[in-house]
Amino acid sequence: MLLHYSYEEVKVMIFLGLTSTMKNTLKPNHTPAIDEQLLFRIAEGDTGALSALYAETSSAVYGFALSILKDAHSAEDVMQDTYLKIYAAAGSYAAKGKPMAWILTIVKNLSLMKLRQNRKLPDVPLDESWDISDPKDRFAESQDKILLQAVLKALTEEERQIVTLYAVSGLKHREIASLLDLPLPTVLSKYRRALNKMRRFMGDEFNEK
């Protein structure tokens, strides 16, 4: 891996990476191309279409929820609620060619709602509820979720959301900015900083072992 690079070297790499191959970087292969027709069919009650949509979008939905909530169980709840909402509200989807942005707006709203609910539960402090070192937690089980751990442990809330959306949603910078209500330059700089932090975190983790 990149552990033998110095911090300065990595910084330069990131800078070069962002300036020369930003387009490729920001459009990972996992970009799901969702067919709007799926939503129209769902609006008519077609559960087959819902299954197809689920296959295309579930990791984006779950990933984004997790990046907001930092808690696997809450993210699961939000994920389920999201698809139920989609099923109920697909009829109100206005054909704008942006089904993913629409879906992720639902995820965002439901996640924020969940966050408020969680805060109201006095016996479960937020800090513990998302502690991923919890042995029950699925991410702590193996080393191969190291990037996800990096995202969850080392990044700020906004960085987490931005990086996750870049990785799984296929949204463009502009769309991510508008989904998160952030200015576009902020999204770009936070993204850069987040990658930096992730690399450092991974370095630390590996150094410890």
Partner: protein
């Protein structure tokens, strides 16, 4: 590791971490569906056209729940029961549930935005909301002694509920305005939304209720265009309807629209007489009718004097003469005992011209195309597409017969084949769409048609949307 690889790996990790909940979700969807169907069945039994809309609103209500951030929606609370339009010049649409709690308020035009001005009426009782809205209209000067007309339109599957809401609305509006020493003119109607109405409403940024009022006026006076009338306030529309003797017997009415913004009919008459250089006593068959022409409210003044027909348009606000026409009367109409021989001779020359006009059109040189005749009829009817369009040239009479079906109506136009002007116009509601006679068999047919129409529109949208996406990718 490059950024791209980093992101790909993160994506893969998230993908692996994503639990599979599909079965659970599908199971719960089935439960949800059961509830939704019950609700739709209710709508179908009553009004076929409403069905699609009801689903849309239920979905919109669900989306609304999401946006507001309240927990799992209980269908009964967020289901839209009534859609209420308030039109003055601001057009506002309220959606309420069965308990008459406001679920959403929408400003349909700019004036309405000013009225709403950040007011949050969601969740409040509907009477409270109406009070607030009418109060704001007063405050912002949209309702006063000069403009006292308010159109209330209620769309509810249950006709009795509609009527009840209308009466309640009239009462509360009347109470607020009376407090402010304004005698209101309130028209309350029950409307049933269909696609055609909705399309016109969206296009002209007015409510479905106002569309339906305008269509009544058009049915009586086909020379007007929908686009022109859509610009008029409810007070002007009401005045116009009054002067055209359109009775709103099937509506709840209270008060008369204010004419105080305009000059008296007698003042318009005097303006015309003085322009014609005659005394009032010299004129017979005097008529003065409030009308709307070329974007202004006018009095159309007509009278006969010295065997000449006069026709004036007098600006109803300023009293200025906007249009003056005079035409000698036909020999037949003239009084034989009249001694003004000279004038008669002059008249004869004019009469010849008239006769030319009346001659059957035999040459095609000066005729407008079929397409032009069709589009003249379409634009008058305010439709952009129609089914069963037929355009037939009637050479004898020099007119086109244009017939088509759109929005549940059968239209029949006679268009002057040379000028493209509308000679006659007729519109009939299609049998199956009639509210009172809707049977189940007929309603299912209608639904099919509606859905087909929808699909077409959706397809068009998709194409546009695709283009957008391509642009984004660059």
């Amino acid at each position: 590791m490059k950024n791209k690889e980093l992101m790909e790996r993160l994506a893969a990790e998230i993908h692996d971490a994503t639990p599979n909940q599909l079965d659970d979700i599908l199971l719960k969807c089935k439960e949800q569906k059961g509830k939704a169907i019950n609700m739709n069945e209710l709508a179908v039994n009553k009004k076929p056209n409403r069905k699609k809309w009801t689903i849309g609103i239920a979905a919109a209500a669900a989306a609304f729940v999401m946006a507001v951030g309240i927990g799992v929606a209980s269908h009964s609370y967020y289901a839209v029961d009534s859609v209420i339009d308030l039109d003055v010049n601001p057009s506002i649409e309220l959606k309420t549930n069965k308990n008459d709690t406001v679920l959403s308020v929408e400003a349909l035009n700019d004036d309405a935005n000013e009225i709403l001005d950040g007011m949050d009426l969601k969740g409040v009782d509907f009477d409270v909301a109406v009070n607030a809205l009418v109060g704001s209209m007063l405050k912002n000067g949209y309702i006063d002694e000069l403009k006292n007309s308010i159109l209330v339109s209620v769309d509810n599957d249950d006709e009795n509920k509609s009527r009840e809401l209308e009466s309640r609305l009239m009462e509360s509006i009347n109470a607020i305005l009376s407090e402010n020493e304004i005698t209101p003119a309130i028209l309350a109607q029950t409307v049933t939304s269909d696609e055609e109405l909705q399309k016109l409403a969206d296009e002209y940024h007015i409510s479905i209720g106002r569309v339906s009022l305008i269509q009544r006026i058009l049915a009586k006076d086909p020379t007007k265009s929908f686009a022109d009338l859509a610009k008029l306030s409810v007070n002007d529309l009401y005045l116009l309807a009054d002067s055209k003797d359109i009775d709103f017997d099937d509506l709840l009415k209270q008060g008369d629209p204010s004419k105080e913004g305009y000059i008296e009919a007698s003042a318009a008459k005097s303006a015309a007489f003085s322009h014609a250089g005659i005394q009032a006593a010299q004129a017979s068959n005097v008529k003065a009718e409030l009308d709307f022409d070329d974007g202004v409210m006018v009095y159309e003044v007509e009278f006969i004097s010295n065997r000449t027909e006069y026709d004036y348009d007098i600006d109803a606000t300023t009293g200025a003469v906007l249009k003056a026409d005079k035409e000698a009367m036909d020999q037949d109409d003239a009084n034989d005992q009249d001694d003004d021989d000279d004038q008669d001779d002059d008249d004869d020359r004019d009469d010849d011209d008239d006769q030319d006009d009346d001659k059957p059109v035999t040459s095609a040189t000066s005729l407008i195309s079929k397409d032009k005749a069709k589009s003249a009829a379409f634009s008058h009817a305010g439709v952009s597409s129609a089914k069963n369009v037929s355009v037939i040239l009637d050479k004898e009479d020099g007119k086109y017969d244009v017939e088509f079906i759109a929005g549940g109506y059968e239209y029949d136009y006679e268009i002057n084949a040379r000028t493209g002007k509308i000679i006659e116009y007729d519109r009939d509601k299609l049998e199956g769409e009639k509210k009172s006679t809707s049977s189940k068999a007929a309603s299912s047919d209608d639904d099919d048609d509606d859905r087909d129409d929808d699909d077409d529109r959706d397809d068009d949208d998709d194409r546009d949307d695709d283009d957008d996406q391509d642009d984004d990718d660059d």
